[in-house]
Symmetry: C2
Subunit: 296 residues, 2 copies
């Protein structure tokens, strides 16, 4: 299957045509300019999330192995904040992914670094499993920011009110959100993501969120710098048309949307976002990227 | 105390000066054009909300009596949806207010009428106390809209997800919200209002809410029509700078802000909203309105 994409980076949109390379077709136009690094979303790209362990997405383990064998630099960039990074890594390894911790970029270490750097004391509204990692500052000190993560059932009316009141008494309210997604797929159904609650508190308090995680350019740039690759040479592969695809494009990368994870056909055509390519899954994206690599 | 207001209705703002009349001062400029009808917010203007019964605001019962004795038409317009209208009326009467049910305009009867008129089946995310009144349509029929009220503790993650999923499967998603407030004062502290959750679902689903209640012009106009008064001849007195003051002004009325209820001094000066007058309480607003009536 082929795809037609409008690159929305420059002032005048450029229409591109990408053809499948998997079955020996012509290289997609979106790959004419060489790819020297790849960023991969995790949930919905490497595995499907569920109440228990989740299930691996067929072909994705092999695709990651092929990237590594080809020498193509890659990093994992996730907004997953329902679980500590080490636990997530263990889960991915249990699916067969051979990954090192340094290859994974998550908002949790990034926000801990920010809190220390700016000597902020957070009021936390996060998942109970990651609260420990995010406790920064002396116990009993007044909060100087609110940190929102994928709190899931912790997003109660009482807890959202506490975060709201904490912001309302801060001399300079700061709302830091670990991602800005609308929803994700968990246990075969869509559920609300942290961005929805960030939006709610922004409206309640008249503040703007600071995003740590996708689609923040600072977050993408950290992973790009770690690979030593420029944005224009990189591609982000994800299942979130806003955080992954639009986020990557705004950062100067190419953005590829997979039809796994939270993807639904009603997403396309999107009124404002046009992925550089839409593929069935990670395996197809990697096929195209590596086929193009051979030709560049 | 005097106040200076910028009327933001026309294309070029008009600066007004209002002086107190309570102590025999000059009539406020905002009252130069005659007032022929008054709309009153309830919570934060007639009484302060609390976990138990609430407490009457000093001077407000007498102020309402004075309005009635003077022959000045008035109506109560509330976004209160945590309690059935009859229960709210009983509470107000227990404080000493002499009111008839027809004088009270609340979103609950308004939305029930809309649901019947448009043959909509609602997915409800409302307070348990008002669920019974809002159940419309045959049991088991698929929902064709989501109705959001002041659900308070019913605003759990699970319930917000259910409302989100209901919207996501509707061929033409309709999100109806009973008000669009940011927060209100309850039990001596601020708490999140229904507008915050409407905003959250708007962002999650990419839809726009339809507001039944303040600040919807249709809702204000219903009360104005009932008094037989035009918007330009009316004033709305409330403690919510957006729903009451800005809502009234956008509708063509004058909007007076009281320093009771959810009022906090940090609200003023507001970056975009300038009340026609700011008063200590309803008693002061009624003093000014009736003093001006005598002079017009």
């Amino acid at each position: 299957m082929g795809c037609k994409a409008t690159l929305s980076l420059g002032p005048s949109p450029v229409t591109l045509h990408c053809e499948p390379t998997r079955k020996g077709g012509r290289m997609g136009e979106w790959l004419r300019s060489p790819i020297r690094g790849v960023l991969l979303d995790i949930t919905g790209v490497l595995y499907e999330s569920s109440a228990e362990h989740g299930t691996v997405i067929p072909g994705s383990v092999k695709a990651v192995n092929r990237l590594r064998e080809s020498g193509m630099p890659f990093r994992l960039v996730t907004n997953e904040t329902t679980t500590p990074t080490k636990v997530l890594l263990d889960k991915l390894r249990s699916f067969g992914y051979q990954l090192e911790e340094r290859e994974l970029f998550s908002p949790i270490p990034a926000v801990v670094k920010l809190l220390h750097q700016e000597q902020l004391v957070p009021h936390l509204l996060v998942h109970p499993k990651v609260e420990g990692e995010l406790r920064v500052g002396e116990k009993g000190s007044p909060a100087s920011c609110v940190v929102l993560g994928d709190a899931e059932d912790n997003f109660s009316y009482a807890n959202l009110n506490s975060a709201f009141r904490a912001l309302m008494v801060m001399p300079r309210p700061r709302l830091i959100t670990l991602g800005y997604g609308r929803y994700y797929k968990h246990n075969q159904q869509l559920q609300l993501d942290v961005g929805v609650y960030a939006k709610a508190l922004e409206f309640a308090c008249g503040v703007e969120s600071e995003v740590v995680g996708k689609p923040s350019p600072a977050f993408f740039n950290q992973a790009l710098a770690d690979m030593g690759v420029q944005a224009k040479e990189a591609v982000m592969v994800g299942d979130d048309i806003s955080s992954d695809v639009e986020g990557a494009q705004k950062c100067g990368m190419r953005g590829v949307l997979v039809r796994t994870g939270k993807f639904t056909s009603s997403l396309l055509p999107h009124p404002t976002i046009t992925p550089d390519c839409v593929v069935d899954n990670l395996a197809e994206a990697v096929d195209q990227i590596l086929a193009a690599k051979g030709k560049n």
